[in-house]
Symmetry: C2
């Protein structure tokens, strides 16, 4: 019960218990769970809502709560490349191609809500999975937010570094397009020029809705796909 709230702990507890169960297996009723774990039904419902949002269970009024059929994939959450690769059971690595400080310019400045001449850190990295080139990633960060970042080893997880600086994107807006690779990109990704690729452009926002990161990822189409879940109505 250490982490924080009860519903959080209960959610994690239920997750573990649900893990081995078959799809469509009914859980105990909310009222039963409330008694068993000595919490109010409201707390149980909060925990279950989290599991529902994560695509782990589904609920039918009048019938009960059941284990979701997640043979396909988990609901997409905001993850870093490193997390993503580890989830795919691959060994992530990265090589820094370019790292430096430049003026934001109009495009990046506009997206990060900076002036055109405000400094940003520009970071181009080639991301590898099991030593195979996977993705070419260009990140822009407001320089004032990441003092000293350029002096550190940038081949590990950028998100973890940002976390230690107190920078935590909780939400992101993404735009996905299909493109063909340019010559230099193809060379770095070790694919023929003109090979298809998935371009994911992301603006990461913190808990106050402030942009903290703008990243463009160019994934090799033959080695990467994007899986995620969507809902008809936002979950309440």
């Amino acid at each position: 019960m250490f982490p924080g709230s009860k519903h959080e702990w209960l959610g994690a507890e239920l997750r573990k218990q649900i893990e081995p169960l078959d799809a469509h297996t009914p859980l105990s009723t909310e009222r039963e769970l409330a008694v068993r774990y000595q919490v109010s039904r409201a707390t149980v419902r909060t925990a279950l809502r989290g599991l529902e949002a994560a695509g782990i269970v589904y609920r039918v009024q009048g019938a009960g709560t059941f284990v979701s059929d997640s043979t396909v994939s988990k609901t997409l959450t905001l993850t870093s490349f490193s997390e993503d690769m580890r989830r795919r059971a691959s060994r992530p690595d990265s090589r820094v191609v370019v790292a430096g400080e430049v003026p934001a310019g109009s495009v990046i400045g506009g997206e990060l809500r900076l002036s055109v001449d405000d400094p940003v850190v520009r970071l181009v990295r080639l991301r590898l999975a099991d030593d195979e080139p996977m993705c070419l990633e260009t990140s822009y960060l407001p320089a004032v937010l990441v003092p000293g970042l350029l002096g550190e080893d940038l081949s590990s997880s950028l998100y973890e570094k940002l976390d230690t600086l107190g920078i935590r994107p909780v939400r992101a807006e993404q735009v996905v397009t299909a493109v063909t690779t340019e010559d230099t990109e193809a060379g770095l990704l070790v694919v023929p020029p003109g090979a298809p690729a998935l371009r994911v452009q992301r603006i990461g926002l913190d808990h106050r809705d402030q942009p903290v990161e703008r990243t463009t990822s160019l994934y090799r189409a033959d080695r990467y796909d994007l899986k995620f879940g969507v809902r008809r109505e936002p979950l309440i």
Copy 2:
């Protein structure tokens, strides 16, 4: 207050009021809203949670609730091509390429949880936006769920037709990949063979987590991108 629940009505009401406001404008406090609308604070919080999930507001403990900066895009929800195009202010249309009933087979059967020889309706349509080819869409539906569908006009919204049959996908699992078009596909989409395209494979699930639809959409890369929002943690 007609539609249903109070929080739903309140959410819609607040949506309208927020519409013209600038980003980061603070809303009234939860306690104030509760008094003003004569509801409990719990109801206000449920309504706000919905707006937060929809990417309309963000909340900061100790500070308040604020209008989100949604210059980029709205959070992705499960939409049909027709809805999507209308939201982009385009006039959607479609031409039926193939429509018929076939045995499910192992792949489609597996994904729709049917036997290999259960009948499915197969529907290939070329989707147009403002009379320009946009997307080639292949849908599979369990035949038992959609009796008489093949006798109807299939050039309008399929989702709306399904709705009248009581079939309502509330959730979907999607896989997005970048591909290059084959010759026949390229011909239909009126692009050079080998042109890049975005392939979106979707399995639509109803409120009981039963697959009701399996659609593969092939979008012209030069005319379509996929925008959506993601969160670090599922919203509770």
